[in-house]
């Protein structure tokens, strides 16, 4: 078996004290910059509203990826001689290690890089991921964090991107559609009910006026289903907006004599 030790020794440069200091400085600077960006940008974004808030939040993972690439581009030439032979040897060794020991971890890291480019979710988006619906508050290298309506923080590995559907309610936009449904007994004036529900939406203080308001009516076997589709001024208001529409919509339907549909209860004989 041939002795490869001279070749492997040449893979890594001999590091002197100055190289170590340079490496440490690059790593520390990258960490400080990434941490600072991850704290400062959300802090600034939370003082903004609408579109500016959304764009500042979405820039966090992209900026971190750029900083990591710059740091790696500075570190690698210090550690190894950047020849084709050395790169192949390094990537081969890394591939073996990843393939056996760190498959899921690295898969999540790679999915994190993909997510930074494809942007199936960005900070500020409202997504349903792995059965959880909430606002994306952090897109890390390995995981994405959501805060749900119950104020729970859910951490999901990016790995889910490969196999699961991602439902993004606003997809990078600062507005998001809300659907509020009403189930009404079939004996009523549907034309009037539809107009009344449209007014309910148009008079909500939460309403974002630059997006359309639509009332969808569907006849079901058990009655009539009305759905108001409208947009609040801020996606974070979606649950309060739906509550407001529900409360006022019920009142309005009751005023015109449209009864809510009660569940069928079978009485004992």
């Amino acid at each position: 078996m041939p002795d490869d030790s001279p070749n492997l020794a040449r893979l890594f440069n001999t590091l002197d004290r100055g190289d170590w200091i340079e490496l440490a400085a690059i790593v520390v600077a990258a960490i400080v910059l990434i941490r600072s960006a991850q704290r400062a940008l959300p802090w600034i974004a939370n003082r903004l509203h609408g579109r500016p808030r959304h764009y500042v939040l979405a820039s966090v993972p992209l900026l971190r990826l750029v900083l990591i690439i710059i740091a790696l581009a500075l570190i690698l030439p210090i550690l190894i001689e950047p020849s084709m032979q050395n790169m192949v040897a390094l990537l081969g060794a890394a591939g073996l290690a990843i393939g056996f020991a760190l498959k899921d971890y690295v898969s999540s890291l790679i999915a994190g890089v993909v997510s930074a480019f494809e942007q199936p979710y960005r900070p500020g988006d409202w997504v349903e991921l792995d059965g959880h619906y909430g606002e994306v508050v952090h897109v890390g290298m390995r995981t994405v964090s959501l805060v749900t309506a119950d104020d729970d923080t859910i951490t999901v590995p990016h790995l889910k991107l490969w196999s699961s559907a991602v439902r993004n309610a606003n997809n990078g936009s600062p507005v998001l559609q809300c659907a509020t449904s009403f189930l009404v007994h079939p004996e009523h004036d549907a034309r009037h009910a539809r107009a009344v529900l449209e007014d309910v939406a148009m008079t909500s203080p939460y309403l974002y006026f630059d997006a359309p308001v639509v009332v969808v009516v569907r006849e079901e076997t058990w009655g009539t289903k009305y759905t108001i589709r409208a947009y609040p001024v801020d996606p974070r208001q979606q649950f309060r907006f739906i509550s407001d529409l529900t409360v006022r919509g019920r009142e309005a339907l009751s005023r015109i004599g449209a009864r809510p549909l009660l569940p069928q209860v079978s009485l004992p004989a």
Partner: protein, 416 residues
């Protein structure tokens, strides 16, 4: 406004009060450094949550005294809106558009302008329904709007004909359907600019002529202040001691070209800050007037008795040339950095209806009544709201701040 320098005789100045189509409204522009300075301060407030004034007041300003109300009323009398009503012209009997809309920005008193107009043209003034009639969709109000043959009609305040409530729009729709169809004959509808922005989403108004007062830019504001009867008073900037208004011509006539050339940066900035709204500019101007420092007046009084003839001269001179200082900068109340959704709802509802009482306000916002009162009192303490009887309104000096607050949060705003 264009006057050609090549003509031997200058063209007559444009009238100060112009009524123009709303699409021709020309926002006055601010100078670039002033805009940057204002944005820089706004950024500081946004990021640091600093609600205090950024700079210490100048020494000269600290010495200046506020003027008594009576003196203020003499120096800055309320705007006479009669010339604006005259600028509206005669009733329009164009069969294709029997109704015209006159849009007024907040504090531009469109109701007062239309009241003047109605008197001048013997028009029937329609009174709006009360809140209970609006919420119960009382058709008797609509049925009472009978046309008067040969006389035009005026509805000065369309914003009083609706409430932003699911039951508060029917009378508005009924009225617009009748009026715009020509069933009531030729008429003029006055409407607040914020209310109109909302009404257009409820009832689009294509083809209805929309008129408004043209914006007051720096020269127009200068002309207005020169025209106002103020006796022999010189308004000096407390920042640099320079006069803010050019000297009127000796013949007593206001010279439009003097105003055009002599509009100082402070007045141009004020016009831009108020977005050309003369009513708002008047409130700012009035708020900035100050009396001379006390020690100067005392020194004059002490010097005077030693030399009676000189004293008489000085008194005559003082009477002929009283100095009123105009405080530098534009002081605006600021919203607390933590102002949230409740505050936005209240301010927005007040602007859309041009003021509301607390009870009506409680019916329009999803906030419990007790909290509505608490917020109103807090905003009043911050000088963001004023109360006229039972009606709450956004304070004039707070209006630009409130408008920007709502605009930045994507709430519906007016077109001005």
């Amino acid at each position: 406004m264009n006057t050609s320098p090549t003509h031997d005789t200058p063209s007559p100045p444009p009238p100060l009060w112009q009524v123009v189509p709303a699409t021709d409204y020309a926002l006055p522009t601010d100078s670039q450094p002033a805009t940057l300075q204002r944005r820089w301060r706004a950024l500081g407030r946004l990021l640091l949550g600093d609600d205090k004034d950024e700079a210490d007041p100048a020494r000269a300003e600290a010495d200046l005294r506020a003027l008594p109300q009576l003196r203020l009323a003499n120096l800055a009398p309320p705007i006479d809106w009669a010339p604006a009503a005259r600028a509206l012209g005669a009733p329009d009997r164009d069969a294709h558009a029997p109704v015209r809309l006159f849009i007024g920005q907040p504090y531009c008193e469109h109701a007062a302008i239309l009241a003047h107009w109605a008197r001048a043209h013997d028009a029937v003034v329609l009174t709006p329904p009360d809140s209970a009639q609006i919420l119960t969709a009382d058709r008797r109000w609509l049925d009472g709007l009978a046309p008067d043959k040969g006389r035009p009609w005026v509805l000065p305040e369309l914003e009083r004909c609706f409430l932003r409530h699911a039951s508060g729009l029917e009378l508005l729709r009924g009225f617009l359907a009748r009026a715009l169809s020509g069933a009531l004959g030729p008429g003029l509808i006055g409407c607040d600019s914020w209310a109109l922005a909302f009404i257009e989403r409820i009832w689009p108004l294509p083809g209805t002529p929309r008129l408004t007062l043209q914006a007051f830019d720096g020269p127009a504001l200068t002309r207005y202040l020169m025209q106002a009867d103020r006796g022999h008073v010189r308004f000096l900037s407390a920042r640099n001691g320079k006069p803010l208004l050019p000297e009127p011509p000796a013949d007593g006539q206001t010279d439009a070209s003097a105003a055009e050339d002599g509009a100082c940066p402070e007045l141009r900035q004020l016009a831009a800050h108020c977005r050309g709204n003369p009513g708002l500019a008047w409130h700012y101007w009035r708020q900035r007037l100050r009396a001379a420092p006390e020690h100067e007046r005392q020194a004059q009084a002490e010097d005077a008795p030693h030399d009676p003839p000189a004293r008489q001269d000085r008194e005559r001179l003082a009477a002929a040339d009283e100095v009123v200082w105009v405080a530098p900068g534009i002081e605006t109340p600021t919203l607390p950095a933590e102002s949230g959704e409740d505050v936005a709802f209240l301010l927005h509802a007040l602007l859309l209806h041009r003021g509301l009482d607390a009870e009506a306000l409680g019916a329009l916002v999803p906030i419990p009544g007790a909290r509505v009162h608490s917020h109103l009192l807090r905003l009043q303490a911050l000088e963001l709201l004023t109360r006229d009887g039972t009606r709450w309104q956004v304070a004039p000096l707070a209006y630009p701040t409130v408008r920007e607050f709502l605009r930045s949060r994507s709430y519906l705003t007016d077109d001005f």
